[in-house]
C-alpha cells in the first residue's frame, strides 16, 4: 500500500515535470582531484551556474571508457561533458594525457557518423578554477539548448 502511494506520487511529479519546457540534461564526468574540486569550489563560492548538470565523480579522466559516455547519451542525457586535470597536472601523472587521445578519437568518430559535436565535450578544469567551471557549464548548456533534445542515441524503453 505504502509502495503504491509512493509510486503514485512519483508519477504525478513526473507528469508535472513533463508539462514544463524541455531543459537540457548534461551528464558531467569530473575527475576527483581537479575538476570535481573545481566544481565544488564554484559551489562553495556561491557562483551560480545552470542546474542542468548531473555530476559523476571519477578518480581520473583516464578511467573513463568511451562506452560510459555513450551509455549516458543512450539513457537520456542530451550531452556529456568530461573534465580532467590540465595536462601535466594529473594526480596520477599521465591519466589525462592518455585520456586525451581516447577523447579525440571518440569525438572524431561521433562527428563522422553524424552526431552533433556539441553533444560530447571535453575540457580541463583545475581545482582552483571555480569561476571557469561555472562559465564552461553556462556555455555548454546554451550550446545544447540550441541543439534540442538528444534524439540520435537515446533509447526508448
Amino acid at each position: 500500500m505504502q509502495f503504491e502511494g509512493i509510486m503514485n506520487q512519483t508519477q504525478s511529479v513526473q507528469q508535472a515535470a513533463s508539462k514544463q519546457a524541455w531543459e537540457p540534461k548534461i551528464v558531467a564526468f569530473l575527475c576527483n582531484w581537479c575538476s570535481y574540486a573545481g566544481a565544488d569550489l564554484a559551489g562553495v563560492s556561491r557562483i551560480q551556474y545552470p542546474c542542468n548538470v548531473r555530476v559523476i565523480r571519477v578518480p581520473c579522466s583516464g578511467r573513463i571508457n568511451p562506452a560510459f559516455l555513450l551509455r549516458a547519451l543512450q539513457n537520456g542525457a542530451d550531452a556529456v561533458l568530461v573534465s580532467g586535470c590540465h595536462p601535466g597536472d594529473c594526480h596520477y601523472i599521465s591519466g589525462n594525457l592518455v585520456a586525451r587521445r581516447k577523447f579525440a578519437l571518440l569525438k572524431a568518430l561521433l562527428q563522422y557518423v553524424g552526431i552533433e559535436p556539441e553533444r560530447v565535450q571535453f575540457t580541463w578544469v583545475s581545482a582552483s578554477e571555480g569561476g571557469r567551471f561555472a562559465a564552461i557549464i553556462e556555455k555548454v548548456v546554451e550550446q545544447v539548448r540550441k541543439l534540442g533534445p538528444n534524439g540520435r542515441l537515446a533509447k526508448r524503453l
Binding site: 509502495f3 503504491e4 509510486m7 512519483t10 508519477q11 539513457n75 537520456g76 524503453l157
Partner: protein, 336 residues
C-alpha cells in the same frame, strides 16, 4: 486435393488480395540484390529468382528481439499479441520443415510458449518448392526434400509461366478458397511437369550420411577427434543465428529507474559465455565441448527427444561460416 494454378503475371493480384486480410511477407530484392522476406505494400515487385534467404524465416515465430513485458512505476504491461493474420510467401521447404521442429520445442507438452504459439497460430506459410538446389544443400539427407511441404500450409511449385498451389492444411485450404476466383485447376500434365522438376532437383543434392547418427554420436562422446574438428571455430554465432532450427535464447531486463522491459533475444551455444556460471566455472570452456554439444543437440538429443534431427540441410551454416567449417565434414570426421 486438386492443385490450383495461377500465372506468374497474376500472382501480384493474389498477394494484393491476401493483403486485405492481414500482412503479407514476400521476397523482395534489397539494394544489394539479395532477396529478403519483406512486408508488401502497394506495388512491390516480388522476385522468385533466389535460392534461399540469408536469414531464416524463424524470425517470424521467434524474433531476435522480443519484448515479453514492460513495466513502469510498479505496473506491468504485456505487449498485445499479434491479432493480424500474416501470410509468409516463398519459404523454402527446408525452412518450413524447420518450423515443425521449432513447434516441438515451443508448443508440445505443458511448456507452451504463448508468444510463439500466438505467432504460429496467426502465420500462414506458403512454401515454394526448389528447382535449383545449391551445392551446400542436403535436405534429402535429413528427412526433407526440395518439394517437401511439411510445416507449410500451402506448397507452391514453379513452372515457366505458372505457379501451382497445393493446400496442405485446413488453413491452407481456407486461404486458397478465399482467392478461388483468381485460380484455376491445374492440368495433370502441369502437375507432373512440376513434380518432375522437383525430382530433378532432388537428384542434384549430394547425400550426406546421417542415418544412425544418434547411436554413433552416443558412442563417440569421448572421442579425441572432437578437439581437432572444432579447433577452427571462432565462436562467432553466425551458424546458430542463421540456422532455421536453432532456438536457444537469453532473457534480460533492460531497466532505467522504475521503467523497463524484459526482452528475449537469440543466444548461441558456441559463444564462450553461453554456459558461464555465476561462480565463474564454465562446463564448456573450449570450442571442443561447445562443438560437441552443437552436434549432439542437433543429431542425437533432438532425435532422442523429438524423433528427428534438428537440422534441415539448408546449408546456411556452411555458406556463412567465416572460417569455412562444414557441418557435413564434421559429421564425417567424427564418424557419423
Amino acid at each position: 486435393m486438386t492443385e490450383k494454378r495461377i500465372s506468374h503475371t497474376d500472382l501480384p493480384r493474389l498477394l494484393a488480395r491476401l493483403r486485405e486480410r492481414g500482412a503479407v511477407h514476400a521476397p523482395l530484392e534489397d539494394e544489394t540484390g539479395d532477396a529478403v522476406l519483406t512486408e508488401l505494400s502497394s506495388d512491390d515487385l516480388i522476385s522468385l529468382r533466389y535460392r534461399n534467404f540469408r536469414l531464416s524465416p524463424k524470425s517470424f515465430l521467434l524474433p531476435q528481439n522480443q519484448v515479453l513485458f514492460r513495466f513502469q512505476d510498479g505496473k506491468e504491461e504485456e505487449p498485445a499479441l499479434p491479432d493480424r493474420e500474416m501470410v509468409v510467401f516463398g519459404v523454402r521447404p527446408c525452412d518450413a520443415k524447420a518450423m515443425q521442429a521449432l513447434d516441438k520445442v515451443f508448443l508440445d507438452g505443458d511448456q507452451n510458449d504463448p508468444y510463439y504459439a500466438r505467432a504460429r497460430e496467426k502465420t500462414v506459410v506458403i512454401a515454394l518448392a526448389c528447382t535449383r538446389p545449391l551445392s551446400s544443400c542436403f535436405c534429402t539427407s535429413v528427412g526433407g526434400g526440395p518439394g517437401d511441404g511439411a510445416g507449410a500450409d500451402v506448397l507452391a511449385l514453379e513452372l515457366d509461366a505458372d505457379l501451382l498451389l497445393r493446400a496442405l492444411t485446413p488453413g491452407g485450404e481456407r486461404l486458397l478458397s478465399s482467392v478461388r476466383d483468381l485460380l484455376c485447376d491445374a492440368a495433370p500434365s502441369a502437375v507432373k511437369e512440376a513434380e518432375d522438376r522437383v525430382r530433378a532437383a532432388e537428384e542434384q543434392i549430394a547425400p550426406v550420411k546421417v542415418d544412425g547418427s544418434a547411436q554413433r554420436l552416443s558412442n563417440a562422446y569421448d572421442s579425441p577427434l572432437w578437439a581437432s574438428v572444432s579447433q577452427k571455430c571462432l565462436g562467432c554465432g553466425t551458424c546458430s543465428f542463421l540456422c532455421p532450427t536453432c532456438h536457444c535464447f537469453d532473457i534480460t531486463d533492460e531497466v532505467r529507474g522504475g521503467t523497463g522491459r524484459r526482452v528475449r533475444t537469440w543466444d548461441c551455444c558456441a559463444y564462450p559465455l553461453f554456459t558461464l556460471h555465476g561462480s565463474g566455472h564454465n562446463p564448456r570452456p573450449t570450442p571442443k565441448e561447445r562443438w560437441r554439444q552443437r552436434i549432439m543437440h542437433k543429431f542425437r538429443y533432438a532425435i532422442e527427444n523429438f524423433g528427428r534431427p534438428f537440422c534441415v540441410g539448408c546449408g546456411r551454416c556452411i555458406r556463412s561460416c567465416p572460417v569455412g567449417m562444414d557441418i557435413r565434414t564434421v559429421l564425417k570426421e567424427i564418424g557419423v
